[in-house]
Amino acid sequence: MNATVQFRIDGYEVSALEGATLTAALLQSGIRGLRRDPVSNEFRGAFCGMGACFECELVVDGRTVRACLTPVRADMDVRTGATT
């Protein structure tokens, strides 16, 4: 079994180890800015990495999730830059 899976970040095909933390996979693709702050419109990224701060919120398959609590799955569709 191949432990690497393919999925999409903002429409681009990327690969990562299955079940890796999504924030880690995003960082390996060079992406730190994950959501936009509704007041300043500035990018925010993973800060606490344990589900407490909500700065890593983004949209996976149409649902807003904390990326740091989300394991990578094959074919997931990840969208960054949402205003949450």
Binding site: L27, A46, C48, A52, C53, R66, L69
Partner: protein, 452 residues
């Protein structure tokens, strides 16, 4: 779904309590928000990540396996966001706020652990700034938070994380410690009574020295800003006037110790107190970990920060108390666990005295902030807005109502130390109200339809 006991939190304390209860033939459900059991200290990776990068903290994996064999039922990826009026029914959802359910818990063990204390400085909200804990999680997955990294804040955890970073090949430009804990002083001699911990500390220092990572005491981050070359961080002295230095790095990892995560205990209505040394709010418990609410126990960091060894031992003590309430005989190892708890707490207290008190760190952070610096990340509230909202008084809830600081998605977990320091009430806490985690209105409506 019912069980004899519901434990909230699958970290060292929760795992330890769950295992002893299940091994004595009582049914246990462990609810935890993370995708896999282990909490933060025993955080476990997926099979594919382990196959590539190895097991992180094998003793944690072994404890989880032992719990499973004993029949502990894990409900991972589940958030507790509320408590019903009976104070026995937990309101839970999936971690994304969907699938709302009620979970009747005749006996509850709260082992919700701690979060890292965050303190603001200009630029702390930039995506290249993260906690040290997150940087260490990335190391455990074989991922570098950056090629060049600065580590700053206060506490022994900074050294541990810096070593993890070195271990995955990160160029750690420096570790900045706000206090001066490594100077010889009277309190330092007490550490000699804990030789194993002393060896751990010596190993960290040796590893950093070998990697030529400078550890500079009495230094702190002044500001961080994004530039075309990377994150530009200015460091300066903690007190007085001293030379400023600039670093250009990929990431800045900050940490100021840990705060007990007691929101669920407060929602249950359990008694809390202010810990004298840290100034943090902790659960009031007796020697068995029982809270003042019948049928509710607390174990681990929620009773005061003392680290994983204490949490493991407290889990066993609480597990034994829960078993006694269920008419089961006392498990083995109870006396040793009680000794381990008092020893770990003594060490935590000794260590705490070597580093600056959290309330002093928060007061310094607050006093150093310019009016335009961001304090509340969720609602983008600046230090100036908090200062202007005080109307000559220092009521934290009034400031929250006037500015929205502490009202956002994180429920004030990140900004509380700084906002309370800015208000001059370092031990004041934001009120706790459900939902503790965001839930979808559609999920509430769906649940209501099922109940009616």
């Amino acid at each position: 779904m019912t069980s004899d006991v519901v434990i909230v939190g699958a970290g060292p304390a929760g795992l330890s309590a769950a295992t002893v209860i299940a091994e004595n033939d009582r049914s246990v459900v462990v609810i935890d928000e993370q995708p896999r059991p282990g909490g933060q200290y025993y955080r476990q990776q997926s099979a594919a990540v382990i196959a590539t990068h190895g097991v992180h903290r094998a003793e944690g994996a072994a404890l989880i396996e032992r719990a499973r064999r004993a029949g502990v039922q894990f409900r991972s990826g589940v958030s507790v966001w509320g408590v019903d009026d009976d104070r026995r029914t937990l309101l839970v959802s999936a971690a994304d706020g969907t699938s709302i359910r009620r979970h009747l818990a005749p006996r509850i063990v709260v082992a919700t652990g701690a979060t890292e204390r965050a303190l603001p400085f200009p630029g702390w909200q930039l995506p290249a700034v993260t906690t040290v804990g997150y940087a260490q999680h990335l190391c455990a997955e074989g991922v570098r938070v950056g090629a060049r990294v600065l580590v700053a804040g206060s506490g022994p955890f900074l050294l541990s994380v810096a070593c993890s970073l070195v271990g995955v090949g990160v160029d750690v430009v420096a570790v900045l410690e706000e206090g001066t804990p490594y100077r010889p002083r009277a309190a330092g001699w007490k550490v000699a009574g804990h030789p194993q911990r002393l060896r751990e500390f010596a190993a960290y220092r040796a590893r950093l020295a070998a990697a030529r990572v400078p550890v500079r005491s009495g230094r702190r981050v002044v500001s961080a800003e994004e530039t075309a070359d990377g994150l530009r961080v200015v460091e300066g002295p903690t007190v007085g006037t001293g030379r400023a230095r600039q670093h250009t790095v990929d990431a800045l990892n900050v940490g100021f110790g840990f705060r007990p995560q007691i929101d669920l205990l407060r929602l249950l209505g359990c008694g809390t107190r202010i810990d004298a040394l840290s100034g943090d709010e902790v659960a009031v418990v007796d020697v068995d970990g029982a809270t003042d609410l019948d049928g509710v126990w607390a174990a681990g960091e929620v009773t005061g920060i003392a680290g994983a060894p204490s949490a493991l031992a407290e889990g066993l003590v609480v597990g034994a108390a829960v078993l006694r309430s269920l008419g089961a005989p006392l498990p083995e190892g109870l006396a040793a666990a009680r000794r381990d708890v008092s020893r770990a707490r003594a060490f935590a207290s000794t260590l705490g005295r070597l580093y600056p008190a959290p309330r002093d760190l928060a007061a310094l952070a607050a006093a150093s902030l310019g009016d335009d610096a961001l304090v509340c990340r969720c609602e983008s509230v600046s230090a100036g807005q908090v200062r202007a909202a005080q109307f000559g008084g220092t009521d934290l809830q009034a400031v929250k109502a006037a500015t929205r600081a502490g009202m956002g998605l994180c429920q004030g977990r990140e900004c509380a130390p700084a906002v309370s320091a800015l208000c001059g009430s370092p031990t004041a806490a934001f009120t706790v109200r459900p939902p503790l985690r965001p839930i979808l209105l559609a999920a509430v409506a769906e649940h209501a339809a099922q109940v009616i």
